[in-house]
């Protein structure tokens, strides 16, 4: 796991122009990270020492990866705002951790809980404990236990993969290399829809992650592309060109109903659902260049969302519904931006290299994306304000098209 911290500079001060009612905002730190200290008074035998070291490593990573918390190395330096007290007691082949979260400087105890782990459950227990601390301090779910799907490999010789956010449990879901695109995780995390050319053209497949059973879900003439699951998991919005043109359709997951949503002779593609399931944002070139539009799911009223620039594509609606992330061409490079559902304020989140394929974390506080900032195209995550960029998927020549699990992780029982 390599982590690349990036300084976010000022961007685009000069390129605001024609549309005075649209504000283009520079990236800025939205929330200051909470500084926490970790005090460890665990005493273990040499037999359990490596287990404790592993727990400690997973615990710290899970606390830090959200970027909500910053670990202060000592309570003396850096004035922590909270401290976590770890007291592990060995019990044969397990360790029971009593974890106390203390507010600073009041020293009031926020919670005290016992977490018990064996060799097999070190990581999951460490993540649960860390997520409980994150939730207690920020009211948000952690992301350590989430997963990403992505496409990697030389173009036209790619595979579909899933991986835990910490880089473990990497699984290849395709058996032979080919053109693979646009993985999309079902809301319950059980299935992935994606596009594959395994039969010579872009068809839509759905793979069940529990048994890897794959079905060819859509194979109309022409494009069967850009799947997006409805929030209830019962429908897929897709791009089909079967009626002579790339258009958006909504198809029920049982395949019984199909409804056309867009009607335009140019390109309509890349649908993404609003979390209320009533609207869809998509890309269209109906005004001469690709821009982001929003339509109701009946296709009756359409509004243009992006007014700036000549190339805005790949919309992704946040789980909270308040923002739509998209890709914009700025000075010849491709950057991740966000815009509110009314198109009033655009925020540019990246500025180095080419950045594409935005995908939201289940808590909607982070965005995964593909980027060339490290040379090779890799998959990164950042906070929704563009700060705290971290490389997540590395070691592939070309890793792209991330999709983040959508379900928020179930946190541990919040007992005493």
């Amino acid at each position: 796991m390599r982590v690349i911290p990036l300084l976010i500079g000022v961007l685009l001060a000069s390129s605001v122009g024609a549309q005075p009612d649209v504000r283009l905002r520079v990236t800025k730190e939205e929330h200051q990270a909470i500084r926490i200290a970790i005090e460890d008074s665990t005493e273990v035998t040499s037999y359990l020492k490596s287990m404790h070291q592993a727990f400690s490593g997973f615990f710290r990573w899970a606390l830090e990866v959200t970027s909500y918390l910053e670990i202060a190395e000592s309570t003396e330096k850096g004035k922590p705002q909270a401290s976590v007290h770890l007291r592990g007691s060995p019990r044969e082949e397990t360790i029971a951790y009593e974890i106390t979260l203390v507010d600073y400087p009041s020293k009031a105890t926020i919670f005290r809980r016992i977490y018990s782990c064996s060799d097999e459950t070190i990581k999951s227990t460490a993540y649960v404990a860390a997520d409980d601390i994150i939730f207690a301090l920020t009211g948000r779910n952690g992301i350590a236990s989430t997963r990403l799907a992505f496409v990697a490999g030389e173009k036209s010789k790619s595979h579909l993969y899933v991986v835990d956010l910490d880089g473990s449990n990497l699984r290849k879901l395709t058996s032979s290399p080919g053109i693979v695109m646009s993985p999309a995780w079902s809301p319950d995390g059980s299935r992935l829809a994606y596009v594959s050319y395994r039969q010579g053209k872009p068809d839509l497949y759905v793979v069940n992650l529990s048994n890897l059973a794959t079905t060819r879900f859509l194979a109309f003439e022409g494009l069967n592309a850009t799947p997006s699951w409805s929030p209830d998991g019962k429908h897929l919005a897709v791009t089909l060109s079967k009626d002579g043109n790339p258009e958006i359709y909504i198809i029920s997951i049982d395949g019984k109903t199909i409804k056309r949503v867009t009607f335009y002779s140019g390109i309509d593609c890349s649908p993404t659902w609003a979390p209320n399931g009533l609207e869809i944002a998509f890309t269209s070139d109906r005004t001469g260049s690709p821009q982001i539009f929003v339509t109701d799911i009946e296709g009756l009223s359409v509004r243009r969302l992006t007014q700036e620039g000549s190339y805005n594509t790949s919309p992704a609606w946040s789980p909270q519904g308040d923002l739509i992330a998209f890709v914009s061409r700025i000075d010849g490079k491709f950057q991740i931006c966000t815009v509110d559902p009314f198109g009033t304020e655009i925020t540019v989140l990246t500025e180095v290299g080419n950045n594409e394929d935005p995908a939201w974390s289940p808590d909607g506080m982070h965005i995964a994306f593909s980027s060339t900032i490290g040379g090779n195209t890799g998959i990164y995550i950042m906070k929704r304000d563009g700060t705290s960029k971290r490389l997540i998927v590395d070691g592939f020549q070309l890793a792209r098209s991330p999709s983040w699990t959508r379900q928020a992780r179930v946190t541990s029982s919040r007992g005493g």
Partner: protein, 172 residues
């Protein structure tokens, strides 16, 4: 891909010398027949007219060559150059009513994969619609978009991008 590049080289040579692609006759077979038949002694004049048969490279099938067309960045309308090439391709297809083709739409690497997939589809459609208007039966043409997944020039510069924004005509 190699075959395609060879085709392109051949094509560019033909274009250089200002010729249209022509139907090539299966000369090898004719030559074989001629050799089998007993020949009457030739007069000098006849000998002059009948060139000695040169050894030919074997040609398995008649070659029909269809030029690719190219597009501007983020565009799928046909340029004047593309229309000229498509017109030639249409004439070739009219001469060979038995040939069916796949038009492949391609994009350069810039821009998002998904939009480029749709853009490639529109490029292939634009080429197909032109050929259909020219009188080619729609049933002879299928299309497929490869988006930006199959560049012919892998470099990351203007020259490569210009080559990669294309529609190719592949005989089925």
């Amino acid at each position: 891909m190699k075959a395609l590049i060879t085709c392109l080289v051949v094509l560019s040579l033909i274009a250089t010398f200002g010729c249209h692609p022509k139907k090539m006759r299966p000369l090898v077979e004719e030559q074989a027949e001629v050799e089998k038949q007993p020949q009457p002694p030739k007069t000098e004049r006849e000998a002059e007219e009948t060139q000695p048969v040169k050894p030919l490279e074997p040609i398995e099938e008649e070659q029909v060559i269809l030029d690719p067309i190219h597009f501007e960045f983020d565009k799928y309308n046909l340029t004047d150059e593309a229309i000229a090439i498509l017109t030639r391709n249409a004439e070739v297809l009219l001469k060979h009513p038995d040939i069916e083709i796949v038009i492949e739409g391609h994009c350069d690497e810039r821009g998002t994969d998904e939009y480029n997939l749709a853009l490639g589809e529109k490029r292939a459609m634009a080429a197909r619609d032109f050929l259909v208007r020219f009188g080619i039966e729609k049933s002879r043409i299928s299309i497929v978009s490869y988006g930006e997944e199959r560049p012919i020039d892998p470099r990351h510069n203007e020259e490569a991008w210009a080559k990669n924004r294309r529609a190719e005509f592949v005989i089925r």
